[in-house]
C-alpha cells in the first residue's frame, strides 16, 4: 500500500504472520549534496498522480518479485536533517527477492513519481533539485527524432539514454565548436555547456557555421547557444561568456561529464588537460593549422598532453588562424571528428583515440594514426579512473545477464518470415517464433510469466517491450543487440586496466 503524508513516517507492519523475511529501506535527509551544506529539504508532490503511480509501482514490484507484502510511504512538506523522507518495506518467501524489490522500488520511485524537492542551504539560498537525468521510460524509443540512431545495434535505447543523460562541455565557440555542437545536440546529448568570452567578428563567418551576418558584434557563446536551442529543443544549453582560467576551470568542468577542446591557445589546452586529469574527465582535443590538423582523446590516466609536452610551447611559436589562414572545411572536418569521439565515449561504441592521435592533411587526405604512450611519472598517472556513463534501462538485458536468470522464461522471436531462423541458447524453456506483424500481446503473453522478446538487432524488440510495459505487461524484457549481437564480440568497456597493455 502506498501513502503520502505530511507527518513523520511510521513504518507499516504486515498483518500477515506468515510473512517472515522483511527488508526495509529508509531514505533520510542528508546534510550535504554535491558539496553544498544542506539545512533542510522541502518536498512537494502532485498528490493525485503520485498516489496512483506509487500504488501501481508497488503492484508491479509485488508481481515482478513475487512478494508476499509490500508497502511504501513518502513524506512531503519541510523535513530537517536526519528525518525520513521515504520508507519502503518488502516481504517475500526468500530474502533475495525482498532485497531486489526494495532496490527496484526506490530506483523507480525516484524517476516515476511526480515529487520534487527543494534544498535549503546554509547560506540562506534554496534550489529545486533538478535531476538533469530524464525519467526512465522517457519515450526515447518512440521518439521519431532519434529512431535512426536507436536502430543501430551500437546505440540502441540504452545508448540513446546515455546520450540524453550526458553533460558535455565545449570550450570555445570557434570553428571546431561550431562544427561539433550541432552534431552533439543532434545526437541527443541532454546538456551542453559553451564557454566563450568573445564577440563575433566578420572574419569568423566563413568557418563558424552557426552564425549569420546579422549576428556580428554579439556574444558568440550566446549566439551558439541560441542556434542550438532553436535547432534541437531536446538539448539544454548553458552559455558561459567567460574565458576558462585557473580560477574557474575546476568549478566549470566538474559540472560536466566530457570536455571538448575547441580552443586555439596552448595555455587553455594545457589547463584543460590538467583539470580533466585532476577531476577524472575525458578530454577530446583537436588542433588545426591551415589545411591539416589532428584529433585525440585524452582519458583520465593518460597518455595526456604533458606526456608529449611537459610544458606548453609559447604562444606565438605556431601561427594562429589569423596569421596562417584557414579554410572553413578544416575545423569543420575536425570538429565532426571531435563530436564522433564524444559520442563514442558516451555510448561505449567503437574505440576512442585514447592511445593515438589521428593526423590528417586535407590537401591529399594523408591520414595517420600515430601511437601515443604514457610517460612514467606524468601527472596523469595519478588520475582517478573513469567509467562510461551508466544507464539503467533495466528491461533491456544482455545475453550474458539472461543466462544468469534463475526464473523460467520464454523467448519470443519477433523476426518476420523471410528473416533468419537462427536461434540462440540462453537457457529459455521455450523459443517461439511470432513475427512482429502478427503479434497480438494479449494472446501471446497469456499465462507465460517472464518473456524475453528477441529480434535481429534489438530495435524492434526494444520498441515492443517499451510499448508493452506501458500497457501493464511488466514481465517483458528485450534482448539488447538482438540475435546478431550474440554473434559478435562484445563491446569493450575501457578503463585504465583494459588499456594498460
Amino acid at each position: 500500500m502506498f501513502q503520502i503524508t505530511h507527518e513523520p513516517i511510521i513504518p507499516a507492519e504486515p498483518d500477515d504472520p506468515t510473512v517472515g523475511g522483511i527488508v526495509t529501506f529508509e531514505g533520510r535527509v542528508r546534510n550535504l549534496n554535491e558539496g553544498r551544506a544542506v539545512l533542510a529539504l522541502e518536498y512537494e508532490a502532485f498528490q493525485e498522480m503520485a498516489a496512483t503511480e506509487g500504488t501501481s509501482l508497488l503492484k508491479e514490484a509485488k508481481l515482478k518479485f513475487g512478494l508476499d507484502w509490500v508497502a511504501a510511504t513518502h513524506r512531503i512538506g519541510r523535513l530537517e536533517i536526519g528525518e525520513t523522507a521515504v520508507w519502503i518495506g518488502c516481504g517475500s518467501p526468500h530474502r533475495k527477492e525482498a532485497f531486489l524489490a526494495c532496490e527496484f522500488i526506490i530506483d523507480e520511485l525516484k524517476h516515476r513519481l511526480p515529487i520534487w524537492k527543494r534544498e535549503h542551504y546554509q547560506d540562506g539560498s534554496s534550489d529545486w533539485v533538478n535531476l538533469h537525468r530524464s525519467p526512465i521510460g522517457a519515450k526515447i524509443v518512440q521518439s521519431d527524432v532519434f529512431a535512426r540512431q536507436i536502430a543501430m545495434p551500437e546505440i540502441g535505447p540504452g545508448g540513446q539514454l546515455a546520450l540524453q543523460n550526458a553533460r558535455v562541455l565545449v570550450v570555445g565557440a570557434g570553428g571546431l565548436a561550431n562544427s561539433a555542437l550541432p552534431y552533439l545536440a543532434g545526437a541527443g546529448v541532454g546538456l551542453i555547456g559553451i564557454v566563450e568570452p568573445e564577440l563575433l567578428e566578420p572574419s569568423n563567418l566563413h568557418r563558424q557555421v552557426l552564425f549569420g551576418h546579422n549576428d556580428v558584434g554579439r556574444s558568440k557563446a550566446q549566439l551558439a547557444a541560441a542556434s542550438i536551442r532553436r535547432l534541437h529543443p531536446f538539448t539544454q544549453v548553458e552559455a558561459m561568456e567567460v574565458r576558462l582560467h585557473l580560477g574557474n576551470a575546476e568549478g566549470i568542468v566538474s559540472r560536466y561529464d566530457v570536455v571538448v577542446d575547441g580552443t586555439d591557445r596552448f595555455d587553455a589546452k594545457f589547463l584543460m588537460n590538467d583539470v580533466c586529469q585532476r577531476l577524472g574527465r575525458p578530454l577530446v582535443q583537436a588542433s588545426i593549422h591551415r589545411l591539416d590538423g589532428f584529433v585525440q582523446t585524452i582519458l583520465p590516466g593518460g597518455p595526456c598532453l604533458r606526456c608529449q609536452w611537459e610544458n606548453p610551447p609559447l604562444d606565438g611559436c605556431v601561427n594562429t588562424c589569423e596569421e596562417a589562414g584557414v579554410l572553413g572545411v578544416v575545423p569543420g572536418f575536425f570538429g565532426i571528428l571531435q563530436a564522433t569521439e564524444t559520442i563514442k565515449l558516451i555510448t561505449g561504441m567503437g574505440e576512442p583515440l585514447s592511445r593515438h592521435q589521428l593526423l590528417a592533411d586535407l590537401r591529399d587526405f594523408f591520414c595517420q594514426r600515430i601511437a601515443r604512450n604514457p610517460k612514467p611519472g606524468c601527472i596523469c598517472s595519478e588520475a582517478p579512473g573513469w567509467h562510461p556513463i551508466q544507464t539503467t534501462l533495466y528491461w533491456e538485458v544482455t545475453a550474458e545477464a539472461v543466462r544468469a536468470w534463475t526464473r523460467p522464461f520464454t523467448c519470443i522471436d519477433l523476426r518476420e518470415e523471410d528473416e533468419s531462423r537462427q536461434k540462440i541458447q540462453l537457457g529459455q524453456r521455450e523459443w517461439r517464433r511470432v513475427p512482429l506483424s502478427t503479434f497480438q500481446p494479449e494472446q501471446e503473453l497469456e499465462d507465460l510469466g517472464d518473456v524475453l522478446l528477441v529480434c535481429a538487432t534489438g530495435g524492434r524488440s526494444a520498441r515492443m517491450t517499451s510499448h508493452l510495459r506501458e500497457q501493464g505487461f511488466h514481465q517483458v524484457f528485450s534482448l539488447k543487440g538482438g540475435v546478431r549481437g550474440c554473434n559478435t564480440v562484445p563491446q569493450k568497456q575501457w578503463t585504465k586496466e583494459t588499456l594498460g597493455d
Partner: protein, 79 residues
C-alpha cells in the same frame, strides 16, 4: 479552446502562479509548452518536461481538447 494548466516546483516558481486558464487555438501539448516557453522563458527544455493531460502521462504529440487539464512535470526528485 479553453485549457487549464498547472505548474509545479521550478516551473511554478518561475511562472509565479500554480495554475492558469488559457485560450488557445487547437494544438498539441508539446506545442503548448513551446509557445508558453517562448513567452515565459521556462528554466526547462521540452525534453526535460513530461506531459500530463487529465491525470495521465501522454506523448508530447498528444492533441489537446477544450476543457483539458494539462500539467507540465519537471524532472522529479522524490526519495
Amino acid at each position: 479552446m479553453t485549457l487549464t494548466v498547472r505548474y509545479f516546483a521550478s516551473l511554478r516558481d518561475h511562472r509565479g502562479v500554480s495554475q492558469e486558464t488559457l485560450e488557445t487555438p487547437p494544438t498539441s501539448v508539446l506545442q503548448l509548452y513551446l509557445s508558453l516557453n517562448e513567452k515565459h522563458q521556462f528554466p526547462l527544455s521540452p525534453a526535460q518536461v513530461r506531459y500530463v493531460v487529465n491525470g495521465a502521462y501522454v506523448d508530447p504529440s498528444e492533441t489537446l481538447q477544450s476543457g483539458d487539464e494539462v500539467v507540465f512535470i519537471p524532472p522529479v526528485a522524490g526519495g
